[in-house]
């Protein structure tokens, strides 16, 4: 029974969302606002149960009880190790600074957590982007030429490998900003644009199947699962 109610609820909401394709209407507005509310609620629950509780609350409370064993003189190496949990007070305190936003005089305090998070992201990004993207992509462009040297590629594959190098270089030239695109540069950057357009076309065409699959599945749900409960 509860399952059938579930199917009906899901089917109703599915149709509400699809009604948007016609135009804005009360059913879509109903689903849209409910969706926003439910998803925010879900986000809060996940932030609690997968963020704050396991990462901050559990280590901190363990550290507190460990602290108690130290005070009462029953400390073991294990409980002393658990004292490290006290470190979590720092991020919690930093996080609490966000609430400074609520007091106009202390608003500037939220710059602290924000600066930390931004510094964090920037620091992680530099070596990772360099290695995973710049190094790896440059290497990926060069490496196939070893196979040309070894003579294991067909003429057609060699053509493809060379085409990739031309494509990469011309696309990079399109992204030159501090140079006026004139003469040879302009010509090469046009080749770069051509590569970009071909790449975009290919990616667009290749995505159609996946998007259709989503819709076919949704229609399948409506026709089989939902109408199936009626007929």
């Amino acid at each position: 029974m509860i399952e059938i109610i579930g199917i009906w609820v899901a089917a109703f909401l599915t149709l509400c969302i699809y009604s948007f394709l016609y135009r804005d209407n009360p059913f879509y507005r109903f689903a849209e606002h409910l969706f926003v509310g439910i998803s925010v609620g879900y986000g809060i629950v996940i932030a609690m149960h997968q963020g704050i509780i396991p990462l901050a609350w559990v280590p901190l409370s363990e550290a507190m009880s460990a602290l108690w064993t130290v005070i009462t003189g029953q400390a073991t190496p294990e409980t002393i190790n658990a004292l490290w949990g006290l470190v979590k007070i720092i991020p919690i305190a930093i996080g609490l600074l966000f609430f400074a936003r609520l007091s106009p005089r202390h608003t500037w305090l939220i710059r602290y957590p924000i600066a930390i998070l931004i510094g964090f992201g920037a620091g992680i990004a530099i070596p990772n982007e360099l290695q995973a993207n710049i190094f790896a992509q440059t290497r990926g462009t060069i490496a196939p030429f070893a196979a040309i040297n070894a003579g294991t590629l067909s003429a057609w594959d060699i053509f493809g490998t060379i085409l990739i190098v031309i494509g990469v270089i011309c696309t990079l030239i399109y992204f030159f900003f501090s140079m006026e695109h004139r003469g040879a540069i302009s010509w090469l950057s046009k080749v770069g644009i051509a590569f970009l357009m071909v790449g975009f076309g290919a990616a667009f065409g290749n995505t159609v199947m996946g998007r259709l699959a989503l819709m076919i599945h949704r229609v399948g749900f409506l026709i089989k699962d939902w109408l199936g409960t009626i007929f």
Binding site: I52, N133, Q137
Partner: protein, 216 residues
């Protein structure tokens, strides 16, 4: 206090995060794991603040009776139900899972599936051979789409069998993706990465500080 300390913190955390990538020593790696946890602990506090602004937005709408104000109650209802069930009983609770499976997931999936319609209307409108570039976009998209369906191969082998791709449209599609698409993607990725790195350097060195806002 108001500007220098945040900039110093940003610099400090940035540099430490860079160094953790180059120092394999266990103390540094432990610090890295600790900092990652810190990030995950700090962010949820901002969520509380954001939810407060969400509630403010919708109470204002209700109070001022702006158009469609009634729907704001739905936002509250959805949020309160999820929080009341999920916070005390956890995300494994059967009622919470039921709500997730039968309310949130279907709407997620349906919104996602709207793309099937939108991708078609966007293709119809945008894929016109107005210029050389637009023609390239159009032609490759068509070939790749043909290559994704079995009929495409049949048609291709009848009409286009003189092309170098032996196994029909799917062969052409594969070649386009492997060669032309990956060349363009590489160019984009290389450019983007340079942009990301230079912006990150500016942030860490405190040259880029627009995120601090104005004032002193």
């Amino acid at each position: 206090m108001k500007r220098q300390v945040p900039l110093a913190l940003c610099f400090l955390f940035g540099i430490v995060m860079i160094l953790t990538q180059f120092v394999p020593h266990k103390y540094v790696q432990a610090l890295y794991k600790e900092f990652i946890d810190w990030g995950l602990i700090i962010s949820p506090f901002a969520l509380v603040l954001a939810v407060i602004t969400l509630i403010q937005t919708h109470t204002t709408r209700v109070r001022r009776r702006t158009e469609h104000w009634q729907y704001s109650f739905l936002v509250f209802a959805g949020m309160i139900i999820m929080v009341c069930v999920g916070v005390p009983f956890g995300e494994q609770d059967s009622v919470f899972v039921w709500l997730y499976d039968n309310v949130q997931v279907p709407m997620d999936a349906t919104m996602f599936s709207l793309l099937a319609f939108f991708i078609a209307s966007a293709a119809f409108r945008a894929f016109r051979a107005r210029s050389f570039e637009a023609t390239l976009l159009l032609v490759t998209a068509m070939i790749v789409m043909l290559g994704n369906i079995p009929i495409g191969d049949l048609v291709w082998n009848k009409v286009m069998s003189w092309t170098p791709w032996a196994d029909g449209a799917s062969g052409a599609r594969q070649w386009i993706l492997d060669v032309l698409n990956s060349a363009a993607r590489r160019g984009i990725i290389l450019g983007v990465s340079l942009g990301v790195i230079s912006q990150s350097i500016r942030i860490i060195l405190g040259i880029e500080r627009s995120y601090l806002g104005g004032g002193d």
